[in-house]
Structure formats: structure tokens, C-alpha cells
């Protein structure tokens, strides 16, 4: 008997409409534990090398993990992996809400999707069964409208829907998968992959609750979570959500401003967590934000999600589209020099309605704003829209035009890197991308170990792939659990910080494989520490895993992602940072004058490769490393890989 997981993986071929169920053995689940690692098993086996990301042969895996759907905080997450249309590298995106748990209840741990349907369809997974249904009437609808229609026609308000919006249909390269109309598997363009397959939605419903191996131990961990709320500060985190970091980031000089040219935004207080909570969350007029302005994921006690509503005016916004996270406040706010909270809330809602990643969308617009400021773009390019820093009106207009691929939006819908290739004129100087993915709102100039993670991460610049520098010093007891006992001074970029980056990356990678929340489980500020994560996995599954095995799962997944890129011929030459991070010192505030030093950075990069056991010349994983992680089959089964992984 399997504990935690259903033991069933659904395979769907949209070209032939064939649907099959695979029942892998326990060893399979123990090796990958779910999420991204499990998805990569299928992507590496079934996706041909060199595949066009928007072609039928690109395999899209949607995976939960072995603890998804159990009643404990932070377990309802879904990982999506496929080749990315934004970067041409592997793509990977996680999202929360109620969909992941409900998918488990429908009787399946994961669904592996390939092919292309001749007409729009949705996949209906319910009570251990699955079928494809016509979605012609849903095509073109916003996420909120499509979800309403699906609830009506399936006569069940408790279905959960993971879908693309019009942006995914229009193949916007940073289109997202959206559930609940406000949760996003945001990054790397997984929505465009689903759109290219004519798959509008995956709809789930079921009652198959996962069985827990050791209910007593599990109950004790649930209780422990409640006692940890105050000492970890996760109660405050729930109240103000991720936007709580906005002003502290600014104080440290790490709030990306004016397209990453400064780390300090003089109007940060207008877009921070307190302002959002006090003046913009639903219910704020009667001080009832906790009741009406916060939302949560299945069985999570934190309630960190924001709900905002604007009743009238140009930025009228329906509460069903949620509220902005910190990343969104930064990308549509400080990146663009904008402090109009209503406009940011509205842009966030547009992204959720149309199905787009708020990070890439806001950052692509801020890149265009810098090009405009430098005279590289004119109103002839933009169709008359003046893309001035600080123009909330232009930002909101452009967001909508990108989703619809209208006018200049058609070019920006390609993402900033491809847009710069189309436009030319030296606009690449202003990019803030790694591997073609726009940088999230944490600055490598300030938190320096992130510089190597942004550059080397197989799916492009990412802030959730490792712990950030200050955590090493701030959480010594928790860091010791994963063997990190030698914190370094601020701004250090040396071998020990690379070890910190790599080890915490392995833990984050395991978290994305277990498909649990990075705010609830982790090596530093999170509710549960690394050892408690192990306890939860063991209580649910009945296994006797330990932190070493968990870290190995993370390392396995990281090397699978990396090997995918190696197979595509992508290695060290793509492990780069935006030029401006070296050449243009930050202006103003605590980080005034900060820039990365190229020589120091190259040395750190080599340290990181050596620690990872990746070739320092090519950046590819070594055969020895792949074999030690049980991934010899990946090399053996992929001819292109066997030539570069030696």
C-alpha cells in the first residue's frame, strides 16, 4: 500500500486523444519524491533533443509530491516542467492554491501531456478517471470567466481549474498557468506551452484523500506548526504577506528600481506591505482585512495571499484576481518607477485574468522604459505610447497590449531578450535577463551569492532556488542542520558562499521536488526547518528518509535540469549575468556604488562548478556525478548528452 501518493500517473496524448495510467513502483517515488524531479524523469525520457518548445513534441509534466493533499501547512503545490519558449532552456514553475491537493484527490499524482489537440480541449480528471472535453466555447475567455463557465457546466462548485488565459492562447512567451484565477505557475512560459497544445485547462475533482502512514506523528507535527508561528514570525508574515519585505529590501539597498539601476526607491512606502494591508486590501475600510483581504492554500494556516479590490475608476479590479505579491509590487512598481498602488493592483489582476507572469511582464516593461529613456525607442515604435518611467497609465496599457499581442505589445510578448534582438539599436545593454529570463526582485549586487545562482540556474534567473545571503548569519542553528557552519561577512563572494549557495540550492531543489512551499519549509526563516521537513515526509510516507537523502533528491533534480540544457548544447557560455550588473554601479541609498567585480565573479563561478562536480570549462555535469545520483540512464538514453557529459 502507498502512503501519501496515489501511485498513479496519467499520460495524455493530445494528438491521438489516448489516455493511459501508469503505476510506478515505490522506488520511483522514493527516488524523485514528486514535483520537478518526477516531471524531469518524463521530460528527459520523452522529449526529443532540440524540440521546438511550442511544438507538439514538447512534453509538459504537471506534478504534485508525496505529501501533497495531507492536512498540513505548505503542502499544496504543483510543479510544471517543459522546455521553455521564453529561454530555449528547460522551463520550471511552481504554484499553490487548492488545485494541487484536489488533483491528488482526483486520484493522480501527476499528468504528463504531449502532442497537440486538433481543436481546443480541456482535461477533466475526476474520481480516478480522465477524459478530454471540448473547450471551443472557453477559448478566448479570461481565467475568471472560463472558471465560472466550467463550474456551471460540470455542475460542481468545488472543481479546481488550472488553465491558460488569452495570453497563453496567444503564445506570449511568459504566459503562465493560473488556478483559482489568482495563483500562478508563473515563470518560464508554461502557459504558452499549454496554449500551443490547444489545451485550455486541466480540471480536477475527487475525494481520494491520501493515507498517512503514522497519524500520531503527523498530528504532532501539525501541532508543532501552531507553536512555531510566533517564534518564526510567520504569523506576521501571514498578516502582511510577501509585500512585507518591500521596505526592508529598500533599506538594504536591494529593492530593484529603474530597471535595476538603483536599489533604492524613494517612494517605497507607497508600495509596501503595510500600505497594501492598511489601505488596499479588501475589507480595509472596516479593519476587516483578516477576514476579507487574506486568502490561503489548501490546509495552510499562514494565509499569506492578498485579496484586493478596487470598486471604481480607471483601475477598477475584481477581488477574484487576488492581490500583488512582493515580486509584483517591485516589477510593476519600483522597476518602472511607479508608486501608484491601484495601478499595480490592476496590472497584477490583468496578468491573472490573461494568464501572464508578473515578474517577466513588469520587468520587460521596465526594460522598455529604460530603452525609451535612453532614446532607443520612440513613439513610432510604441504606437504613440510614451513609456516614461513612472507612467502608471503606460505600464497598465502595455500589460494589456502584451497579453493581446497588440501593437508594440506584440514585440514585448516575446520577452525582453527576444524583443531586444528584434529591435537592435544597442537595446541589449539594458537587459536584466539570465538565459533570457528577466531577473526577479532580489539584487545580486547586494546579495552576492545570488549572482551565481541567477547565472547558472538551468531555468534562468530565479530567487527561489537558494537561500539568500543574510540567512547564513541569521539562522546558525538551522543552517547547521544542512552542514553550513561558517557564515561570511556581508558582500563576500568566495568559496564558502558558493558552498552556501549550492547546499541551500539542493534543499530548495528538494522542496520543488517534494512540491512544498518555500515559505513553510526551508533552511532559514520558514515555519518548519529542514529536520522537520524530513519528519513530515516520514510521517506521511512511512519511509525512514533523512536530510542527506532529501538533499540528494534536490541535487538529482538540479542535475536533471542541467542535463536537459546540456543535451540542447547549452552550457557555460549561457551562465551569464546582465552586463549592467558589472558595468553600471548602483545609484543612491545603502547600495550606492555597488557593482559586481568580473574577476571575483568568474572565480566564484568556477568554485561553484567544482563544488557541483560540473566541468569548469563546459559547465556540463560530470558523468561521475550523474551516475552517483542514479542518473546514468539519462546519459545512456540521450546520444547528444553522451557526447558532452564525460
Amino acid at each position: 500500500m502507498s502512503y501519501g501518493y496515489t501511485g498513479k500517473i496519467l499520460h495524455v496524448n493530445l494528438t491521438t486523444s489516448e489516455i493511459t495510467v501508469e503505476e510506478p513502483n515505490e522506488q520511483f517515488y522514493r527516488t524523485y519524491m514528486g514535483g520537478s524531479a518526477m516531471g524531469m524523469h518524463y521530460v528527459l525520457k520523452e522529449t526529443p533533443a532540440g524540440v521546438d518548445p511550442l511544438s507538439p513534441d514538447n512534453v509538459l509534466a504537471l506534478c504534485t509530491g508525496v505529501v501533497t493533499g495531507t492536512p498540513i501547512s505548505g503542502q499544496s503545490r504543483l510543479t510544471s516542467v517543459a522546455k521553455s519558449p521564453l529561454t530555449g532552456c528547460i522551463g520550471d514553475a511552481q504554484g499553490g492554491g487548492y488545485f494541487p491537493a484536489e488533483m491528488k484527490f482526483s486520484g493522480f499524482d501527476a499528468v504528463i501531456i504531449k502532442g497537440k489537440s486538433p481543436k481546443p480541449v480541456y482535461l477533466w480528471m475526476h474520481h480516478g478517471e480522465a477524459e478530454l472535453k471540448d473547450a471551443g466555447h472557453l477559448w478566448g475567455l479570461t481565467t475568471g470567466d472560463a472558471e465560472d463557465k466550467l463550474k456551471e457546466e460540470l455542475e460542481d462548485k468545488r472543481i479546481e481549474v488550472l488553465q491558460i488565459g488569452p495570453a497563453g492562447e496567444n503564445l506570449v512567451r511568459f504566459a503562465a498557468l493560473i488556478s483559482m484565477s489568482n495563483r500562478a505557475n508563473g515563470r518560464t512560459g508554461m502557459g504558452a506551452v499549454m496554449g500551443s497544445k490547444n489545451l485550455k485547462a486541466v480540471v480536477v475533482r475527487g475525494k481520494q484523500k491520501p493515507t498517512i502512514a503514522d497519524p500520531e506523528r503527523f498530528k504532532a507535527l501539525q501541532k508543532l506548526g501552531k507553536t512555531l508561528l510566533e517564534p518564526t514570525g510567520m504569523d506576521d508574515f501571514g498578516k502582511y504577506g510577501t509585500p512585507d519585505v518591500t521596505s526592508p529590501q529598500n533599506k538594504s539597498g536591494g529593492l530593484p528600481t529603474y530597471n535595476f539601476n538603483s536599489g533604492t526607491f524613494d517612494k517605497h512606502e507607497e508600495i509596501n506591505g503595510r500600505t497594501l494591508y492598511n489601505e488596499h486590501l479588501r475589507g480595509h475600510e472596516k479593519d476587516e482585512q483578516n477576514r476579507f483581504g487574506r486568502d490561503t492554500c489548501f490546509s495552510c494556516q499562514i494565509k499569506c495571499k492578498r485579496v484586493s479590490q478596487i470598486d471604481e475608476g480607471p483601475y477598477k479590479t475584481d477581488a477574484k484576481y487576488g492581490g500583488p505579491e512582493y515580486e509584483t509590487l517591485a516589477t510593476f512598481g519600483s522597476y518602472c518607477g511607479i508608486s501608484n498602488m491601484d495601478a499595480i493592483i490592476h496590472a497584477n489582476a490583468l496578468c491573472n485574468m490573461y494568464g501572464m507572469d508578473t515578474i517577466s511582464c513588469g520587468a520587460t516593461i521596465s526594460w522598455a522604459m529604460e530603452c525609451w529613456a535612453e532614446g532607443k525607442l520612440t513613439s513610432e515604435d510604441t504606437g504613440g505610447i510614451e513609456l516614461n518611467y513612472g507612467s502608471a497609465e503606460a505600464m497598465v496599457k502595455m500589460t494589456e497590449m502584451i497579453a493581446k499581442r497588440e501593437g508594440f505589445g506584440k514585440i514585448l510578448a516575446e520577452g525582453s531578450q527576444k524583443a531586444s534582438e528584434i529591435i537592435g539599436r544597442g537595446t541589449e545593454e539594458y537587459l536584466i535577463t539570465s538565459k533570457g529570463q528577466e531577473a526577479p526582485a532580489h539584487m545580486p549586487q547586494v546579495k552576492r551569492s545570488l549572482s551565481v545562482i541567477y547565472a547558472t540556474n538551468p531555468f534562468g534567473a530565479d530567487h527561489e532556488s537558494s537561500e539568500h545571503d543574510p540567512a547564513y548569519k541569521a539562522y546558525p542553528e538551522r543552517m547547521e542542520q544542512i552542514g553550513l557552519t561558517n557564515p561570511q561577512e556581508k558582500l563576500a563572494l568566495n568559496e564558502e558562499m558558493m558552498r552556501f549557495a549550492m547546499v541551500t540550492q539542493h534543499l530548495s531543489s528538494a522542496i520543488d521536488s517534494l512540491s512544498v512551499c518555500a515559505f513553510i519549509f526551508g533552511a532559514s526563516f520558514q515555519l518548519y526547518d529542514s529536520n522537520q521537513l524530513v519528519e513530515v515526509v516520514n510521517a506521511v510516507t512511512g519511509w525512514d528518509t533523512d536530510i542527506t537523502e532529501i538533499l540528494a533528491v534536490g541535487e538529482r533534480r538540479l542535475n536533471m535540469l542541467r542535463a536537459f540544457n546540456s543535451r540542447e548544447g547549452i552550457g557555460r557560455e549561457s551562465d551569464t549575468l546582465p552586463k549592467k550588473m558589472f558595468k553600471r554601479p548602483l545609484e543612491g541609498g545603502r547600495s550606492d556604488g555597488y557593482a559586481l567585480d568580473e574577476k571575483e565573479w568568474e572565480a566564484a563561478l568556477e568554485d561553484y562548478y567544482r563544488l557541483c562536480d560540473w566541468d569548469t570549462k563546459t559547465g556540463h555535469p560530470s558523468l561521475k556525478k550523474m551516475e552517483s545520483l542514479g542518473l546514468g540512464w539519462v546519459v545512456a538514453e540521450n546520444e547528444a548528452l553522451s557526447q558532452v557529459v564525460t
Partner: protein, 70 residues
């Protein structure tokens, strides 16, 4: 900074002048403010200090949390 401003009495934009006993440490300050959670404390600028650090008259103390991501 941020949500920690809730712990600061009569603060204006997250700042407040506090009177503590002589020889008070950072631990005393946090206890005075009833902050039980893990925080980082910097005194007079960038320099991070441990809980046993003894504060002096006129010190500017910055209290913040380390939450990454978003």
C-alpha cells in the same frame, strides 16, 4: 522595518525614540518591545550585532527580518 513596526509604540514611519536602562543589551531591547521572533539587528548603520551587544546613548538600532522570495 516592515511588520516589526507593529511592535514599536507610537512610531512614525517605523521610527521611535526609546529610553532604556543603562547597559541594556539588544536582548533587553527586543524583550522591551516584546519581539519574540528571530530578527537581525544592526546598530548605527550596516553593522549587525548579536543579542549580548550593549547599547549606548544615541545608538540608532535597525531591526529587521530575513524573508526572501515573494
Amino acid at each position: 522595518m516592515g511588520s516589526l513596526e507593529d511592535y514599536l509604540p507610537d512610531s512614525e514611519r517605523g521610527q521611535s525614540v526609546l529610553n532604556l536602562k543603562d547597559e541594556s543589551t539588544i536582548a533587553d531591547l527586543l524583550s522591551h518591545l516584546k519581539i519574540k521572533r528571530r530578527v537581525i539587528v544592526a546598530v548605527n548603520g550596516d553593522e549587525e550585532k548579536g543579542s549580548e551587544y550593549v547599547l549606548s546613548e544615541g545608538d540608532e538600532v535597525l531591526v529587521f527580518t530575513v524573508i526572501s522570495g515573494g
